[in-house]
Symmetry: C2
Subunit: 247 residues, 2 copies
Amino acid sequence: MPATPSPNQNHLLAALPTAEFELLAPHLELVALPLGEMLYEPDRQLQHAYFPTTAIISLLHVMESGASAESAGVGNEGVVGVSLFMGGETTTSSAVVQTAGHAYRLDRRWLMQEFNRAELLQRLLLRYTQALMTQMSQTAACNRHHSVEQQLCRWLLLTQDRVAQRELVITQELIAGMLGVRREGVTEAAGNLQRAGCISYRRGHISVLDRAGLETRSCECYALVKKELTRLLSDAPCRHKATTAAR
Amino acid sequence: MPATPSPNQNHLLAALPTAEFELLAPHLELVALPLGEMLYEPDRQLQHAYFPTTAIISLLHVMESGASAESAGVGNEGVVGVSLFMGGETTTSSAVVQTAGHAYRLDRRWLMQEFNRAELLQRLLLRYTQALMTQMSQTAACNRHHSVEQQLCRWLLLTQDRVAQRELVITQELIAGMLGVRREGVTEAAGNLQRAGCISYRRGHISVLDRAGLETRSCECYALVKKELTRLLSDAPCRHKATTAAR
DNA sequence: GTGCGTATGTGCGCTGCCGCACATACAAGC
DNA sequence: GCTTGTATGTGCGGCAGCGCACATACGCAC
């Protein structure tokens, strides 16, 4: 973990060619995102796009019944607020900070303007958006067909990729909210994984011990989403090495 | 149903201002899409974008187990092949003709070129893509929390909006494939809906008798997706009235 | 009309997840 | 240390949907 926050910790920002980055840099504002903060909710006008460095954000759907489910997560590989440049400005989902950390944000108007002017920035953001769509649509199919344990594995792998740390700081209760299942279901699945030596956990902390084991027990969705993200962003121009991290 | 096929039957094409449409028109090619035809599949390079008029296309995910689920459907409100202008060129899903009919298609290269040149075309396509993302992410949450009957209602309503006909020509088996559930589950749900007077059906045909009834029995997802589609496309410039049809 | 392919109806037992009601045990603050 | 809030463990009945095995019945092709 770099002690000094840097925009290059975000893969999209790091992938921008120097010329474009220089234009953008003065407008980047570092913000701390505490756990549970809501970056946007349905129908509320989003004021900034957020490029996470150490924070992780969940795109959550809350149903009328109060039940919730995550359609995608965003970490240092992406950006929160694609609806700004997609033109809709609002979305039907909420964006909630799932792991506290930092992000750089850009003002809405500036981003919208620059998106239309800077061709490479536009291309990069659109390619990332397609990766996000992959994640969403795969989650739809995954929710239909795969078990809680498989989905927990997928979720742990995706999340760990974003923090680059063995230990995740999160409660099973919160994970249940993301997956849209009961907290008890997560407890049981996590128990199995711990007994199998894949993870170990204590009150609010989960450590990944055996990634290969998790990948075996995960459904195919993890590898698929990961592969697509890599494909879509790896051949982008790149100032720093941040984008190369595949899995 | 107009006897003469016209690009204006597709809401996106109809929404283009005359100047932009004139540029595009010579490149539009009318094609017949038979039931079951696969417009693209994972990793296969897409050669055309399809603007359906009477056809309906399902964006399907096929899992390793062979099970499938639709993450979104595309009818005359949209376009198949957003990955072309999003920059990825391929996707991880398949696109399968769910209801036979017609579509206008545009060559891949021409569309990619024009997307970068024509600002209004770009804006329209991106807004539609955001509506598609709404459909995908809502489907993810819906698959998690709602019953087969609720989802069948949602599916019937969305599909009927696309054909503008009382009667849909489709088997329960195919619907089951879209929803990612058992055929018997669809049979049972359809039986309930018929007994309630919402629909009537016979071998391969389903007629919607009571839209309001279906909306009541549907989950909130139908209204939400529909509303977002309307919002994103209604304030677009519009040569014809096609885009105004909100439900 | 007759026949046949295929769409639909129905009944099993089974499983995974739910909803609830607790028991337990951790960790931070006094 | 002890208390207290909260995270986790566990057991129950219930139910929706699954997988299977059929029975039935529709409608097209001949």
